[in-house]
């Protein structure tokens, strides 16, 4: 277990970014918001001492990230004045921060792809069942949804030659991934749900693929 020197930002496009694309390509059928929110770019930044410094770091890099996002859709040569506006950037993207990292490459710098492990409803159900005797926790859990659980969920840094390599990798490594994700929640293994097969793992967790991990540090 190592303390993190880095943080990972996943940029999730909003309807404002979709509208921006629509304004740029009025004659082209653009993808749905769902597709826009698939395979979002992940960026590595240096871990800062507090949230204020983290925001400063994001502000320092936002123009680079904004340009990259625009270029992914409009081509490498596309340039727009909007790249310079921090407020437009924040309207176009929500950022999701991850510090719980399973590194499966020699160094973080050599990692170019990332998998995000997302808890499913069954895990939330398990959590409710685990604390059903504690009124206070039951009350807290009534206000919890999957997006709360997914915040800072485990990300796996691992390079693949192709998309087809991902499932075999998960089938082989699901126990390690499961353990890492559960350690985020609770350090006593006896409390964890029993995951004795890849199929059971997929009942509790889904995986999102991020084919671009860019290093800003």
């Amino acid at each position: 277990m190592q303390p993190s020197e880095w943080e990972i930002i996943v940029l999730k496009p909003t309807r404002v970014f979709l509208t921006f694309l629509a304004s740029q390509l009025p004659e082209v059928d653009l993808p749905s918001l769902k597709k826009l929110q698939t395979d979002n770019t992940a960026y590595v930044i240096k871990k800062q001492s507090d949230d204020e410094a983290t925001l400063n770091e994001i502000e320092r890099h936002f123009a680079t990230m904004f340009r990259h996002e625009i270029c992914r859709w409009l081509g490498d040569d596309a340039r727009n004045k909007i790249e310079g506006s921090f407020l437009d950037f924040l309207c176009c993207f929500k950022f999701e921060m991850h510090t719980h990292i399973l590194l499966m490459e020699n160094t973080l710098d050599s990692g170019n792809q990332l998998l995000r492990i997302k808890p499913r409803s069954v895990l939330l159900k398990w959590m409710r069942a685990t604390v059903e005797d504690d009124e206070e926790l039951v009350s807290v859990l009534q206000h919890i949804n999957l997006s709360h659980l997914a915040e800072n969920a485990t990300v796996v840094i691992k390079n693949f030659n192709g998309l087809a390599d991902i499932k075999p990798f998960l089938q082989q490594s699901y126990q390690k991934i499961f353990a890492t994700e559960m350690l985020r929640m609770c350090d006593s293994q006896e409390q964890w749900p029993v995951i004795d097969s890849y199929e059971t793992f997929t009942q509790y967790f889904s995986v999102s693929i991020h084919t671009q991990l860019l290093h800003l540090h």
Binding site: Q2, P3, R15, V16, L18, A22, L25, P31, K35, T38, D39, E52, E59, C71, R72, W73, L74, G75, D76, D77, A78, N80, F86, L87, F89, L90, C91, F95, E96, T99, H100, I101, M104, S121, V122, K125, W126, A129, D134, L137, V140, H143, I144, L146, H148, L149, E151, I166, F178, M185, C186, Q189, P193, V194, I195, D196, T200, T202, Q203, V207
Partner: protein, 283 residues
């Protein structure tokens, strides 16, 4: 397939929870939300600083007056019209500045979660009234400039300089107004869950193209974006195809027909999962 190295990296503050109870208690404190909100507050503060800078620039503009020494019989009448033009531009600036301050205040409220359709309607009504007022100022400005041109009997080159200066100021004001109208609309759409729900329903419900969806609330902001240079239409198609492939792989991994709802709707399956007794450590 075996990785060369495996390392678990975590932050101290948001790392391993000692027990499930501690983890559950901190779930409601969303760091992501807090960071996103803080970043937007910061960006709005930058906007306010920019507005202040523009205000100072506007106040610092010195109107040409050297032509008064050169003009002939109509000098007094032209000076009077110049003053009236100046007055219109100042009134226009005051109106836009007040609106810009309101958009920043309203945007801050939206980020703080105080958005409501009622408040947005009030803002829309106010904007419609300001639009009318600005159109009136524009007509007045053009009429005054026309009257002045009719009186100008010499040194027409100087008149062109004055017109250019007035045009520049007027264009800056229009840009300022458009910018701040855009700020409010974008922040509103970014935070309004209802418009998101409508958009999602519409996208899910049919195979209609994006253009057909533009009757939705985000139509309001499409005109606030300027056209990029160097756009490649092929890049869009390539990116869309690449994401389709990723989406298909995610479906294969996660199971297209195995949504959370499907798992939860199958109580036998769920109970079996939750009843499983631990016989050996998972790892």
């Amino acid at each position: 397939m075996e990785p060369v190295t495996i390392a678990i990296i975590c932050a101290t503050a948001f790392g391993i929870a000692a027990g499930i109870a501690a983890f559950i208690r901190q779930l409601l404190l969303s760091r992501d939300k807090s960071l996103n909100d803080e970043a937007q507050h910061k960006a709005l503060t930058l906007e306010a600083a920019e507005l202040e800078k523009i205000r100072n620039q506007m106040l610092g503009v010195k109107r040409f007056d050297s032509h008064y020494q050169l003009l002939g019989a109509n000098k007094d009448a032209i000076e009077y019209l110049d003053d009236k033009i100046e007055e219109v531009l100042k009134k226009k600036y005051t109106l836009i500045e007040q609106y810009a301050m309101l958009t920043l205040k309203e945007s801050t409220a939206i980020i703080a979660g105080e958005s409501s359709e009622e408040r947005k309607c009030l803002c829309d009504t106010l904007k419609a009234e300001i639009d009318e007022e600005l159109a009136f100022y524009q007509t007045e400005l053009q009429q005054l400039q026309k009257r002045r041109a009719a009186l100008w009997d010499a040194h027409t080159g100087m008149q062109d300089r004055i017109l250019d200066q007035e045009k520049l100021r007027n264009d800056h004001l229009d840009a300022l107004y458009e910018h701040h109208s855009g700020v409010l609309e974008k922040v509103y759409i970014r935070h309004n869950e209802n418009s998101e729900a409508i958009a999602k329903q519409s996208i899910d419900a049919s195979t209609q193209t994006f253009k057909a969806l533009l009757s939705l609330p985000f139509q309001a902001i499409i005109d606030y974006f300027k056209l990029s240079s160097g756009i490649s239409v092929d890049a869009v198609k390539k990116e869309a195809a690449s994401r389709d492939a990723v989406n298909a792989m995610e479906d294969q991994i996660n199971g297209t027909n195995k949504s959370d709802d499907d798992i939860l709707k199958n109580p036998t399956n769920l109970s079996a999962l939750l009843r499983k007794k631990r016989s050996e450590p998972a790892v």
